[in-house]
Subunit: 223 residues, 2 copies
DNA sequence: ACAAGTGTTCTTGTATGCAAGAATATTGAC
DNA sequence: GTCAATATTCTTGCATACAAGAACACTTGT
Protein backbone atom coordinates (compact mmCIF):
# COMPACT_ATOMS: atom_id res chain seq x y z
CA UNK A 1 0.00 0.00 0.00
CA UNK A 2 1.51 3.20 -1.17
CA UNK A 3 -1.33 5.40 -0.03
CA UNK A 4 -0.77 8.20 2.41
CA UNK A 5 -1.45 7.23 6.00
CA UNK A 6 -3.60 10.29 6.52
CA UNK A 7 -5.81 9.31 3.59
CA UNK A 8 -6.34 5.82 4.92
CA UNK A 9 -7.16 7.26 8.33
CA UNK A 10 -9.62 9.70 6.79
CA UNK A 11 -11.41 6.90 4.96
CA UNK A 12 -11.48 4.72 8.05
CA UNK A 13 -12.90 7.45 10.25
CA UNK A 14 -15.38 8.41 7.55
CA UNK A 15 -16.53 4.82 7.40
CA UNK A 16 -16.98 4.67 11.15
CA UNK A 17 -19.03 7.83 11.06
CA UNK A 18 -21.16 6.43 8.25
CA UNK A 19 -21.83 3.15 10.01
CA UNK A 20 -22.69 4.85 13.25
CA UNK A 21 -19.73 3.52 15.20
CA UNK A 22 -18.91 7.18 15.71
CA UNK A 23 -22.35 8.76 16.02
CA UNK A 24 -22.93 12.49 15.55
CA UNK A 25 -21.68 14.49 18.49
CA UNK A 26 -18.79 12.17 19.34
CA UNK A 27 -15.66 13.98 20.38
CA UNK A 28 -12.63 13.21 18.22
CA UNK A 29 -9.59 13.62 20.42
CA UNK A 30 -6.44 13.78 18.33
CA UNK A 31 -4.26 12.10 20.92
CA UNK A 32 -6.73 9.30 21.55
CA UNK A 33 -7.14 8.59 17.85
CA UNK A 34 -3.39 8.74 17.35
CA UNK A 35 -2.83 6.09 20.01
CA UNK A 36 -5.67 3.99 18.72
CA UNK A 37 -4.26 3.89 15.19
CA UNK A 38 -0.65 3.74 16.34
CA UNK A 39 0.44 6.89 14.53
CA UNK A 40 1.40 10.41 15.52
CA UNK A 41 -1.08 13.26 15.76
CA UNK A 42 0.02 14.73 12.45
CA UNK A 43 -1.77 12.40 10.03
CA UNK A 44 -4.78 12.28 12.37
CA UNK A 45 -5.00 16.05 12.25
CA UNK A 46 -4.80 16.04 8.48
CA UNK A 47 -7.55 13.44 8.28
CA UNK A 48 -9.79 15.42 10.61
CA UNK A 49 -9.21 18.64 8.73
CA UNK A 50 -10.18 16.99 5.46
CA UNK A 51 -13.29 15.52 7.05
CA UNK A 52 -14.11 18.95 8.42
CA UNK A 53 -13.76 20.42 4.95
CA UNK A 54 -16.15 17.81 3.59
CA UNK A 55 -18.61 18.63 6.37
CA UNK A 56 -18.65 15.29 8.14
CA UNK A 57 -16.96 16.63 11.24
CA UNK A 58 -17.07 20.01 12.86
CA UNK A 59 -13.80 21.62 13.80
CA UNK A 60 -14.01 24.30 16.46
CA UNK A 61 -10.77 26.28 16.80
CA UNK A 62 -8.73 25.27 19.84
CA UNK A 63 -11.65 23.18 21.03
CA UNK A 64 -11.21 20.07 18.96
CA UNK A 65 -13.32 18.17 16.51
CA UNK A 66 -16.65 16.40 16.89
CA UNK A 67 -18.68 14.32 14.49
CA UNK A 68 -21.02 16.78 12.80
CA UNK A 69 -24.46 16.83 14.28
CA UNK A 70 -27.27 18.01 12.04
CA UNK A 71 -30.41 19.45 13.58
CA UNK A 72 -33.74 18.32 12.13
CA UNK A 73 -34.00 21.58 10.21
CA UNK A 74 -30.51 21.24 8.88
CA UNK A 75 -31.19 17.67 7.88
CA UNK A 76 -34.26 18.73 5.97
CA UNK A 77 -32.21 21.32 4.12
CA UNK A 78 -29.58 18.76 3.18
CA UNK A 79 -32.14 16.32 1.88
CA UNK A 80 -33.80 19.09 -0.09
CA UNK A 81 -30.53 19.70 -1.93
CA UNK A 82 -29.88 15.98 -2.32
CA UNK A 83 -33.29 15.62 -3.94
CA UNK A 84 -32.48 18.33 -6.44
CA UNK A 85 -29.14 16.79 -7.35
CA UNK A 86 -30.60 13.31 -7.69
CA UNK A 87 -33.41 14.69 -9.82
CA UNK A 88 -30.85 16.37 -12.02
CA UNK A 89 -28.87 13.14 -12.30
CA UNK A 90 -32.00 11.27 -13.32
CA UNK A 91 -33.00 13.89 -15.87
CA UNK A 92 -29.59 13.91 -17.50
CA UNK A 93 -29.14 10.16 -17.25
CA UNK A 94 -32.34 9.62 -19.17
CA UNK A 95 -30.82 11.40 -22.12
CA UNK A 96 -27.21 10.34 -21.76
CA UNK A 97 -27.20 6.83 -20.34
CA UNK A 98 -25.11 4.27 -22.22
CA UNK A 99 -26.08 0.71 -22.99
CA UNK A 100 -23.95 -0.91 -20.33
CA UNK A 101 -25.13 1.68 -17.82
CA UNK A 102 -28.73 0.72 -18.61
CA UNK A 103 -27.83 -2.82 -17.73
CA UNK A 104 -26.02 -1.79 -14.55
CA UNK A 105 -29.06 0.20 -13.47
CA UNK A 106 -31.48 -2.67 -14.12
CA UNK A 107 -29.19 -5.08 -12.32
CA UNK A 108 -28.94 -2.80 -9.31
CA UNK A 109 -32.72 -2.51 -9.22
CA UNK A 110 -33.12 -6.26 -9.42
CA UNK A 111 -30.63 -6.69 -6.60
CA UNK A 112 -32.75 -4.33 -4.51
CA UNK A 113 -35.80 -6.42 -5.29
CA UNK A 114 -34.03 -9.56 -4.21
CA UNK A 115 -32.92 -8.03 -0.94
CA UNK A 116 -36.40 -6.70 -0.29
CA UNK A 117 -37.94 -10.09 -1.05
CA UNK A 118 -35.63 -11.63 1.51
CA UNK A 119 -36.52 -8.94 4.04
CA UNK A 120 -32.82 -8.25 4.47
CA UNK A 121 -32.57 -4.61 5.53
CA UNK A 122 -28.79 -4.52 5.56
CA UNK A 123 -28.53 -6.01 2.07
CA UNK A 124 -31.17 -3.57 0.84
CA UNK A 125 -29.23 -0.69 2.34
CA UNK A 126 -26.18 -1.74 0.37
CA UNK A 127 -28.03 -2.42 -2.89
CA UNK A 128 -29.93 0.82 -2.54
CA UNK A 129 -26.64 2.64 -2.46
CA UNK A 130 -25.51 0.76 -5.54
CA UNK A 131 -28.75 1.73 -7.30
CA UNK A 132 -28.31 5.42 -6.58
CA UNK A 133 -24.65 5.39 -7.54
CA UNK A 134 -25.66 3.80 -10.83
CA UNK A 135 -27.85 6.81 -11.53
CA UNK A 136 -25.16 9.27 -10.47
CA UNK A 137 -22.72 7.57 -12.82
CA UNK A 138 -25.11 7.55 -15.76
CA UNK A 139 -25.72 11.30 -15.78
CA UNK A 140 -22.81 11.93 -18.13
CA UNK A 141 -21.45 14.72 -15.95
CA UNK A 142 -18.55 13.45 -13.87
CA UNK A 143 -18.50 16.55 -11.70
CA UNK A 144 -22.17 16.08 -10.88
CA UNK A 145 -21.47 12.43 -10.14
CA UNK A 146 -18.79 13.44 -7.65
CA UNK A 147 -20.93 16.06 -5.98
CA UNK A 148 -23.88 13.70 -5.66
CA UNK A 149 -21.63 11.05 -4.16
CA UNK A 150 -20.15 13.60 -1.79
CA UNK A 151 -23.51 14.67 -0.47
CA UNK A 152 -24.69 11.07 -0.35
CA UNK A 153 -21.71 10.19 1.85
CA UNK A 154 -22.40 13.15 4.05
CA UNK A 155 -25.97 11.98 4.59
CA UNK A 156 -25.02 8.39 5.14
CA UNK A 157 -25.03 8.56 8.96
CA UNK A 158 -28.70 9.52 8.82
CA UNK A 159 -29.84 7.59 5.77
CA UNK A 160 -29.40 4.24 7.43
CA UNK A 161 -32.14 5.16 9.88
CA UNK A 162 -34.71 5.71 7.19
CA UNK A 163 -34.93 2.12 6.07
CA UNK A 164 -35.54 0.80 9.54
CA UNK A 165 -38.94 2.42 9.41
CA UNK A 166 -41.69 -0.11 8.93
CA UNK A 167 -42.41 -0.97 5.31
CA UNK A 168 -40.09 1.69 4.00
CA UNK A 169 -38.11 -0.94 2.11
CA UNK A 170 -41.05 -2.05 0.00
CA UNK A 171 -42.24 1.42 -0.94
CA UNK A 172 -38.65 2.35 -1.69
CA UNK A 173 -38.37 -0.58 -4.05
CA UNK A 174 -41.60 0.32 -5.84
CA UNK A 175 -40.24 3.83 -6.36
CA UNK A 176 -36.98 2.43 -7.71
CA UNK A 177 -38.84 0.39 -10.27
CA UNK A 178 -40.86 3.37 -11.44
CA UNK A 179 -37.64 5.40 -11.75
CA UNK A 180 -35.92 2.74 -13.83
CA UNK A 181 -38.97 2.50 -16.06
CA UNK A 182 -38.98 6.25 -16.64
CA UNK A 183 -35.26 6.38 -17.42
CA UNK A 184 -35.35 3.43 -19.80
CA UNK A 185 -38.47 4.82 -21.48
CA UNK A 186 -36.66 8.07 -22.08
CA UNK A 187 -39.04 10.19 -20.01
CA UNK A 188 -36.62 12.66 -18.46
CA UNK A 189 -39.24 14.75 -16.73
CA UNK A 190 -40.80 11.74 -15.02
CA UNK A 191 -37.39 10.44 -13.98
CA UNK A 192 -36.56 13.79 -12.38
CA UNK A 193 -39.88 14.11 -10.59
CA UNK A 194 -39.89 10.55 -9.31
CA UNK A 195 -36.34 10.79 -8.04
CA UNK A 196 -37.01 14.05 -6.25
CA UNK A 197 -40.07 12.54 -4.60
CA UNK A 198 -38.06 9.46 -3.70
CA UNK A 199 -35.50 11.49 -1.78
CA UNK A 200 -37.43 14.31 -0.25
CA UNK A 201 -38.39 13.64 3.29
CA UNK A 202 -41.81 15.08 3.77
CA UNK A 203 -44.70 14.68 6.16
CA UNK A 204 -44.61 11.49 8.16
CA UNK A 205 -41.42 10.22 6.63
CA UNK A 206 -39.53 13.24 7.87
CA UNK A 207 -41.05 12.85 11.33
CA UNK A 208 -39.91 9.23 11.39
CA UNK A 209 -36.41 10.29 10.52
CA UNK A 210 -36.32 12.94 13.23
CA UNK A 211 -37.62 10.45 15.77
CA UNK A 212 -34.79 8.09 14.95
CA UNK A 213 -32.40 11.02 14.99
CA UNK A 214 -32.99 11.63 18.68
CA UNK A 215 -32.24 7.97 19.37
CA UNK A 216 -28.93 8.49 17.63
CA UNK A 217 -28.14 11.40 19.90
CA UNK A 218 -28.81 9.32 22.98
CA UNK A 219 -26.18 6.89 21.79
CA UNK A 220 -23.70 9.73 21.35
CA UNK A 221 -24.34 11.11 24.81
CA UNK A 222 -23.89 7.72 26.41
CA UNK A 223 -20.21 7.85 25.48
CA UNK B 1 -6.79 38.23 15.57
CA UNK B 2 -7.38 34.96 17.28
CA UNK B 3 -7.91 32.97 14.10
CA UNK B 4 -5.79 29.97 13.32
CA UNK B 5 -2.83 30.76 11.14
CA UNK B 6 -3.65 27.90 8.80
CA UNK B 7 -7.15 29.31 8.24
CA UNK B 8 -5.80 32.75 7.40
CA UNK B 9 -3.32 31.18 5.01
CA UNK B 10 -6.05 29.13 3.38
CA UNK B 11 -8.17 32.20 2.81
CA UNK B 12 -5.23 34.17 1.48
CA UNK B 13 -4.21 31.46 -0.96
CA UNK B 14 -7.81 30.96 -2.01
CA UNK B 15 -8.08 34.65 -2.72
CA UNK B 16 -4.93 34.61 -4.80
CA UNK B 17 -6.26 31.68 -6.80
CA UNK B 18 -9.57 33.48 -7.31
CA UNK B 19 -7.96 36.69 -8.48
CA UNK B 20 -5.65 34.91 -10.85
CA UNK B 21 -2.44 35.78 -9.02
CA UNK B 22 -2.01 32.02 -8.76
CA UNK B 23 -3.44 30.80 -12.07
CA UNK B 24 -4.52 27.19 -12.62
CA UNK B 25 -1.55 24.87 -12.96
CA UNK B 26 0.73 26.83 -10.64
CA UNK B 27 2.88 24.64 -8.45
CA UNK B 28 2.39 25.21 -4.73
CA UNK B 29 5.65 24.33 -3.03
CA UNK B 30 5.18 23.97 0.71
CA UNK B 31 8.65 25.24 1.58
CA UNK B 32 8.39 28.23 -0.73
CA UNK B 33 5.00 29.22 0.63
CA UNK B 34 6.22 28.72 4.19
CA UNK B 35 9.12 31.09 3.64
CA UNK B 36 6.91 33.57 1.84
CA UNK B 37 4.44 33.77 4.70
CA UNK B 38 7.09 33.45 7.41
CA UNK B 39 5.63 30.32 8.97
CA UNK B 40 6.56 26.67 9.15
CA UNK B 41 5.36 24.09 6.67
CA UNK B 42 2.74 22.72 9.05
CA UNK B 43 0.04 25.39 8.70
CA UNK B 44 0.79 25.66 4.98
CA UNK B 45 0.20 21.96 4.61
CA UNK B 46 -3.06 22.19 6.47
CA UNK B 47 -4.19 25.09 4.31
CA UNK B 48 -3.32 23.21 1.11
CA UNK B 49 -5.09 20.06 2.28
CA UNK B 50 -8.24 22.03 3.02
CA UNK B 51 -8.06 23.72 -0.38
CA UNK B 52 -7.60 20.31 -1.96
CA UNK B 53 -10.68 19.04 -0.16
CA UNK B 54 -12.66 21.97 -1.49
CA UNK B 55 -11.39 21.24 -5.00
CA UNK B 56 -9.47 24.44 -5.61
CA UNK B 57 -6.10 22.72 -5.62
CA UNK B 58 -5.06 19.28 -6.66
CA UNK B 59 -2.95 17.28 -4.26
CA UNK B 60 -0.92 14.48 -5.84
CA UNK B 61 0.60 12.15 -3.24
CA UNK B 62 4.31 12.74 -2.75
CA UNK B 63 4.28 15.05 -5.74
CA UNK B 64 2.96 18.21 -4.20
CA UNK B 65 0.04 20.49 -4.86
CA UNK B 66 -0.91 22.55 -7.88
CA UNK B 67 -3.74 24.99 -8.46
CA UNK B 68 -6.55 22.91 -9.94
CA UNK B 69 -6.79 23.14 -13.68
CA UNK B 70 -10.18 22.41 -15.20
CA UNK B 71 -10.38 21.21 -18.78
CA UNK B 72 -13.05 22.79 -21.00
CA UNK B 73 -15.21 19.71 -20.59
CA UNK B 74 -14.82 19.74 -16.85
CA UNK B 75 -15.61 23.44 -16.75
CA UNK B 76 -18.79 22.83 -18.69
CA UNK B 77 -19.80 20.19 -16.21
CA UNK B 78 -19.18 22.47 -13.26
CA UNK B 79 -21.21 25.26 -14.80
CA UNK B 80 -24.01 22.83 -15.56
CA UNK B 81 -24.25 21.99 -11.86
CA UNK B 82 -23.89 25.64 -10.86
CA UNK B 83 -26.82 26.47 -13.14
CA UNK B 84 -28.98 23.86 -11.47
CA UNK B 85 -28.12 25.10 -7.98
CA UNK B 86 -28.69 28.73 -8.89
CA UNK B 87 -31.99 27.81 -10.52
CA UNK B 88 -32.99 26.01 -7.36
CA UNK B 89 -31.99 29.01 -5.24
CA UNK B 90 -34.10 31.27 -7.46
CA UNK B 91 -37.09 28.97 -7.36
CA UNK B 92 -37.03 28.67 -3.57
CA UNK B 93 -36.19 32.32 -3.05
CA UNK B 94 -39.28 33.33 -4.98
CA UNK B 95 -41.43 31.61 -2.40
CA UNK B 96 -39.39 32.24 0.72
CA UNK B 97 -37.73 35.62 0.32
CA UNK B 98 -38.21 38.06 3.19
CA UNK B 99 -38.91 41.75 2.91
CA UNK B 100 -35.44 42.94 3.71
CA UNK B 101 -34.01 40.34 1.35
CA UNK B 102 -36.18 41.74 -1.43
CA UNK B 103 -34.62 45.10 -0.79
CA UNK B 104 -31.11 43.66 -0.68
CA UNK B 105 -31.74 41.94 -4.01
CA UNK B 106 -33.07 45.09 -5.66
CA UNK B 107 -30.19 47.11 -4.29
CA UNK B 108 -27.64 44.63 -5.58
CA UNK B 109 -29.27 44.73 -8.99
CA UNK B 110 -29.24 48.54 -9.00
CA UNK B 111 -25.55 48.48 -8.04
CA UNK B 112 -24.91 46.23 -11.03
CA UNK B 113 -26.74 48.69 -13.25
CA UNK B 114 -24.63 51.55 -11.93
CA UNK B 115 -21.40 49.67 -12.55
CA UNK B 116 -22.52 48.69 -16.04
CA UNK B 117 -23.52 52.27 -16.83
CA UNK B 118 -20.06 53.40 -15.83
CA UNK B 119 -18.50 50.64 -17.94
CA UNK B 120 -16.54 49.54 -14.89
CA UNK B 121 -15.88 45.83 -15.42
CA UNK B 122 -14.19 45.33 -12.07
CA UNK B 123 -17.00 47.02 -10.17
CA UNK B 124 -19.53 44.96 -12.11
CA UNK B 125 -17.64 41.79 -11.26
CA UNK B 126 -17.93 42.62 -7.60
CA UNK B 127 -21.57 43.73 -7.69
CA UNK B 128 -22.47 40.68 -9.77
CA UNK B 129 -21.13 38.52 -7.01
CA UNK B 130 -23.15 40.47 -4.47
CA UNK B 131 -26.26 39.97 -6.62
CA UNK B 132 -25.83 36.22 -6.82
CA UNK B 133 -25.04 35.92 -3.12
CA UNK B 134 -28.26 37.83 -2.42
CA UNK B 135 -30.18 35.12 -4.26
CA UNK B 136 -28.30 32.32 -2.50
CA UNK B 137 -29.12 33.90 0.85
CA UNK B 138 -32.79 34.36 0.04
CA UNK B 139 -33.49 30.72 -0.75
CA UNK B 140 -34.35 29.95 2.85
CA UNK B 141 -32.11 26.88 2.92
CA UNK B 142 -28.84 27.70 4.62
CA UNK B 143 -27.23 24.47 3.47
CA UNK B 144 -28.09 25.28 -0.13
CA UNK B 145 -26.72 28.77 0.41
CA UNK B 146 -23.42 27.32 1.59
CA UNK B 147 -23.18 24.83 -1.24
CA UNK B 148 -23.96 27.47 -3.85
CA UNK B 149 -21.33 29.76 -2.36
CA UNK B 150 -18.84 26.92 -2.29
CA UNK B 151 -19.28 26.14 -5.94
CA UNK B 152 -19.29 29.82 -6.79
CA UNK B 153 -15.92 30.23 -5.09
CA UNK B 154 -14.60 27.22 -6.89
CA UNK B 155 -15.57 28.71 -10.25
CA UNK B 156 -14.26 32.14 -9.40
CA UNK B 157 -10.90 31.74 -11.18
CA UNK B 158 -12.78 31.18 -14.42
CA UNK B 159 -15.79 33.44 -13.92
CA UNK B 160 -13.76 36.59 -14.06
CA UNK B 161 -12.90 35.82 -17.65
CA UNK B 162 -16.50 35.73 -18.76
CA UNK B 163 -17.20 39.39 -18.20
CA UNK B 164 -14.25 40.51 -20.24
CA UNK B 165 -16.05 39.28 -23.31
CA UNK B 166 -17.42 42.13 -25.35
CA UNK B 167 -20.86 43.29 -24.27
CA UNK B 168 -21.28 40.50 -21.78
CA UNK B 169 -21.77 43.02 -19.02
CA UNK B 170 -24.84 44.57 -20.60
CA UNK B 171 -26.57 41.30 -21.49
CA UNK B 172 -25.75 40.05 -18.01
CA UNK B 173 -27.42 43.10 -16.49
CA UNK B 174 -30.55 42.67 -18.61
CA UNK B 175 -30.77 39.08 -17.41
CA UNK B 176 -30.37 40.20 -13.80
CA UNK B 177 -33.27 42.60 -14.16
CA UNK B 178 -35.52 39.93 -15.63
CA UNK B 179 -34.60 37.60 -12.77
CA UNK B 180 -35.39 40.19 -10.11
CA UNK B 181 -38.69 40.90 -11.80
CA UNK B 182 -39.63 37.22 -11.80
CA UNK B 183 -38.68 36.75 -8.15
CA UNK B 184 -40.51 39.85 -6.94
CA UNK B 185 -43.55 38.94 -9.05
CA UNK B 186 -43.60 35.52 -7.38
CA UNK B 187 -43.08 33.57 -10.59
CA UNK B 188 -40.88 30.74 -9.30
CA UNK B 189 -40.74 28.85 -12.56
CA UNK B 190 -39.59 31.88 -14.52
CA UNK B 191 -37.00 32.71 -11.88
CA UNK B 192 -35.57 29.22 -12.08
CA UNK B 193 -35.50 29.14 -15.88
CA UNK B 194 -33.99 32.59 -16.22
CA UNK B 195 -31.28 31.88 -13.63
CA UNK B 196 -30.35 28.59 -15.27
CA UNK B 197 -30.09 30.29 -18.64
CA UNK B 198 -28.05 33.08 -17.04
CA UNK B 199 -25.44 30.67 -15.76
CA UNK B 200 -25.25 27.99 -18.37
CA UNK B 201 -22.46 28.53 -20.78
CA UNK B 202 -23.73 27.44 -24.12
CA UNK B 203 -22.87 27.98 -27.74
CA UNK B 204 -20.72 31.02 -28.39
CA UNK B 205 -20.50 32.01 -24.77
CA UNK B 206 -18.88 28.76 -23.86
CA UNK B 207 -16.45 29.08 -26.74
CA UNK B 208 -15.50 32.53 -25.52
CA UNK B 209 -14.81 31.15 -22.09
CA UNK B 210 -12.68 28.33 -23.42
CA UNK B 211 -10.72 30.75 -25.58
CA UNK B 212 -9.90 32.86 -22.54
CA UNK B 213 -9.12 29.72 -20.64
CA UNK B 214 -6.20 28.91 -22.88
CA UNK B 215 -4.84 32.40 -22.30
CA UNK B 216 -4.96 31.66 -18.61
CA UNK B 217 -2.92 28.55 -19.12
CA UNK B 218 -0.25 30.46 -20.99
CA UNK B 219 0.15 32.67 -17.96
CA UNK B 220 0.55 29.63 -15.76
CA UNK B 221 3.18 28.09 -18.01
CA UNK B 222 5.19 31.28 -18.11
CA UNK B 223 5.95 30.88 -14.44
C1' DA C 1 -22.89 27.01 50.78
C1' DC C 2 -21.88 29.52 46.70
C1' DA C 3 -19.56 32.51 43.60
C1' DA C 4 -15.60 34.40 41.76
C1' DG C 5 -10.86 34.37 40.95
C1' DT C 6 -6.70 31.83 40.34
C1' DG C 7 -3.70 28.07 39.35
C1' DT C 8 -3.12 23.59 37.25
C1' DT C 9 -3.75 20.35 33.67
C1' DC C 10 -4.98 19.06 29.28
C1' DT C 11 -5.59 19.78 24.29
C1' DT C 12 -4.74 22.06 20.39
C1' DG C 13 -1.69 24.72 17.14
C1' DT C 14 2.84 25.49 15.23
C1' DA C 15 7.80 24.50 14.69
C1' DT C 16 11.42 21.39 13.86
C1' DG C 17 13.60 16.96 12.79
C1' DC C 18 14.08 12.90 10.19
C1' DA C 19 13.06 9.27 6.73
C1' DA C 20 11.46 7.78 2.26
C1' DG C 21 10.09 8.49 -2.40
C1' DA C 22 10.32 11.40 -6.58
C1' DA C 23 12.77 14.42 -9.64
C1' DT C 24 17.09 15.61 -11.47
C1' DA C 25 21.85 15.49 -12.58
C1' DT C 26 25.86 12.74 -13.58
C1' DT C 27 28.46 9.25 -15.43
C1' DG C 28 29.43 5.56 -18.43
C1' DA C 29 28.58 2.60 -22.44
C1' DC C 30 27.59 2.26 -27.18
C1' DG D 1 26.18 12.52 -29.24
C1' DT D 2 22.51 9.82 -27.19
C1' DC D 3 20.54 6.71 -24.17
C1' DA D 4 20.44 4.32 -19.91
C1' DA D 5 21.72 3.30 -15.31
C1' DT D 6 22.99 5.23 -11.10
C1' DA D 7 23.93 8.70 -7.68
C1' DT D 8 22.49 13.00 -5.72
C1' DT D 9 19.37 16.39 -4.37
C1' DC D 10 15.02 17.96 -3.25
C1' DT D 11 10.26 17.58 -1.56
C1' DT D 12 6.91 15.45 0.76
C1' DG D 13 5.04 12.70 4.74
C1' DC D 14 5.20 11.50 9.41
C1' DA D 15 7.18 11.94 14.21
C1' DT D 16 8.43 14.65 17.93
C1' DA D 17 8.93 18.94 20.63
C1' DC D 18 7.30 23.04 22.37
C1' DA D 19 4.06 26.99 23.13
C1' DA D 20 -0.39 28.92 24.01
C1' DG D 21 -5.20 28.86 24.88
C1' DA D 22 -9.16 26.42 27.00
C1' DA D 23 -11.21 23.50 30.41
C1' DC D 24 -11.25 22.24 35.01
C1' DA D 25 -10.44 22.06 39.78
C1' DC D 26 -9.25 24.30 43.76
C1' DT D 27 -9.07 27.89 46.91
C1' DT D 28 -10.75 31.87 49.17
C1' DG D 29 -13.87 35.40 50.44
C1' DT D 30 -18.51 36.54 51.53
Amino acid sequence: MSERTAVRLRDTIEQEIATGELPPGTRLDETVLAERFGVSRTPIREALLELAASGLVEHRPRRGAVVAQASPGRLFEMFEVMAELEGMCGRLATRRISDWQRKALSDACKACAKAAAGGDTDAYYYQNERFHYAIYSACGNSFLTEEAQRLHRRLKPYRRLQLRVHNRMLTSLAEHEAIVEAILAGDAEAAETLLKAHIVVQGERFSDLVANLSKLEEVAEAR
